[in-house]
Symmetry: C2
Subunit: 174 residues, 2 copies
């Protein structure tokens, strides 16, 4: 009603260079990296999610449509590993996209446990329409870094992500 701003607008603009506080290792490069990684991810994700939400999609749903668009029909398990949700989550998400007529399930001839998901014509038309806008939006959001810096950052994050993903869960105290 009123044009007042909502209280929940979580201005991510909190000072990224917070003062290192006494002792407790605030100057620790690893901890600092984790903090800025989380903040950068959150800031970018908010823009990305807001963009796809205009079309009634969540980030995960968009990720599925995009994967199917660029790779063709995929097994549910393949999609799951790609968009990083749980096995229950992928069933839930594909169900929702299917009831909206954007994707359909198909049997897998070689393995009757498995099922493919594939874009319907409606789904393909949708992703074809919104993907270029989304890419443009991401370009704007990531424009804080030059193309060279983006490549440097991507290289470091690839290395970091691979190492973290390969590390077994549970830690040393087992």
């Amino acid at each position: 009603m009123s044009d007042t701003k909502r209280t929940s607008r979580p201005a991510v603009t909190a000072d990224l260079n917070a003062e290192p506080l006494a002792s407790h290792g605030a100057a620790d490069p690893a901890l600092q990296l984790w903090v800025v990684l989380a903040r950068a991810y959150t800031a970018v994700a908010r823009h990305a999610e807001a963009d796809v939400a205009r079309h009634g999609l969540t980030g995960s749903e968009f990720g599925i449509l995009e994967a199917l668009y660029h790779k063709g029909p995929m097994l549910l398990g393949e999609i799951q590993r790609k968009v990083l949700v749980s096995s229950g989550g992928i069933t839930f998400l594909v169900d929702r996209l299917a009831t909206r007529g954007l994707v359909e399930r198909r049997a897998c001839a070689e393995d009757r446990r498995a099922r493919y998901a594939a874009l319907t014509p409606d789904g393909e038309a949708l992703i074809e329409r919104i993907f270029p806008e989304h890419r443009a939006r991401l370009h704007a959001v990531l424009a804080g870094l030059s193309a060279d810096e983006q490549r440097d950052a991507a290289r470091l994050l690839r290395q970091l992500g691979r190492a973290a993903a390969e590390l077994p869960p549970g830690g040393s105290t087992e």
Copy 2:
């Protein structure tokens, strides 16, 4: 497993171990950066959340305890900007920590709308006990990068996060 994949259309959400493919914007540095940022964040966050879950805490709850531990009593709004949750979320989270006796609310003399949250002795004892373990775990998770690389990555992510956070939501089409 099934190597029956001949649909190799260009991948934008590339696997970490997949080679970047040609055409259709797959070599786009910005899109690649967004993909690896999301994957790196998710991989690290899984370890971090699993670690604090051993003590019955979510990542957000741990973030609140840690912030209060390092900064002393803070207004709820300050904490909110620090752990990046909604205004409803901060009320919910502080409530839960309070019912567990880990934090308490205190009146703010200068502004009667506002409230402080502060660690109780129990809360301080808990964070004092688990923070060093958590830091060690993060060191292991982030060890895919050298200390120098961690500093480089942190610098780039700080720059990226700041720019993304300052960009108004909604995009150019308003």
